[in-house]
């Protein structure tokens, strides 16, 4: 198995996307071929493959090729289900907090510009 030096934040980032969460969830039931796995997703295959690449890089899944068929499976040691659950929750709140902070900083800047205009 590849020797991965992946940070926790990479795992969070990998899980912080609805499509990738769904892929991980689908794989909880066992390994699947890429084409089978992609079926329920309403997106072009190249986009789907990009999500798989991100998941593979994070160490959450691994893929193997037999003939022309590529198969995906979860890497069991990467995260237990309970840990995964917590990681998913953290990913939701970390990303929400990041969006909120960016929004508030922008809001504050706009208020300041507005105030200084009013003073002139």
């Amino acid at each position: 198995m590849a020797n991965y030096t992946v940070t926790v934040s990479e795992v969070f980032q990998a899980l912080a996307d609805p499509t990738r969460c769904a892929i991980v969830s689908a794989l909880v039931g066992g390994a699947q071929t890429v084409s089978r796995l992609a079926e329920p997703f309403d997106m072009a295959l190249p986009s789907f493959l990009k999500h798989l690449t991100i998941l593979e890089r994070s160490g959450l899944i691994r893929t193997s090729k037999l003939g022309r068929t590529r198969t995906c499976e979860l890497v069991p040691a990467r995260l237990s289900q309970a840990e995964q659950w917590i990681a998913e929750q953290r990913a939701v709140w970390e990303s929400r907090s990041d969006r909120m902070v960016d929004f508030v900083e922008r809001l504050h800047q706009e208020e300041q510009i507005h105030d200084s205009k009013r003073r002139k």
Binding site: P18, A22, Q81, Q89, R90, S95, R96, L107
Partner: protein, 169 residues
């Protein structure tokens, strides 16, 4: 409640945190008043609540203890996430507590995802400090969620760090 009390409360929330609780902290250049606006005005809240291209509809926002807090999110592929809840504590400019375990008027609920979130806002330097403590049910409840096919529900859950973060940098 004074700002100092709120500080103590924030520390207390952090101190009491169990290993499984999420404690998320951010320092901001913006003042507490801006933070409060982003959380207390639904028109603003819905702009950052979920990642694009998902959209948030605020179906109820009764900002008082026992008031309903209900968000409904929709994704581009038809996925939805319905999240009714209830405010437990509202201290303007400093503290918001809400839960998914109750709906408006403290009516008990059995949500697909049980949690209580404590959001605190304090002054820090010229800016402010934001701390969110999110508590979830214990391991046994979590296991039950899994048995109930909880993981299948995950495709409707909204999170997407990349887009927003990279679009803003």
């Amino acid at each position: 409640m004074t700002a100092n009390d709120v500080n103590k409360a924030a520390n207390k929330a952090t101190d009491n945190a169990k290993p499984d609780d999420l404690v998320i902290s951010r320092g901001l250049r913006a003042p507490r008043s801006a933070l409060w606006r982003a959380w207390s005005e639904p028109e603003l809240l819905k702009q950052w609540w979920c990642p694009k291209p998902w959209t948030t509809e605020v179906r109820a926002f009764d900002l008082r203890a026992g008031g309903a807090f209900h968000t409904f999110m929709q994704g581009p592929d038809g996925g939805v996430s319905d999240n009714p809840g209830c405010f437990l504590e509202v201290v303007p400019q400093s503290r918001l507590v809400f839960t998914s375990m109750l709906t408006g008027g403290w009516r008990p609920a059995t949500p697909w995802l049980g949690f209580t979130a404590i959001v605190t806002m304090t002054d820090e330097g010229a800016g402010s400090r934001y701390i969110a403590t999110v508590m979830h049910p214990d391991e046994a409840t979590r296991k039950r969620h899994e048995q109930m096919g909880f993981f299948e529900g995950w495709d409707t859950v909204i999170t997407q760090l990349d887009d927003f973060a990279s679009a803003l940098r």
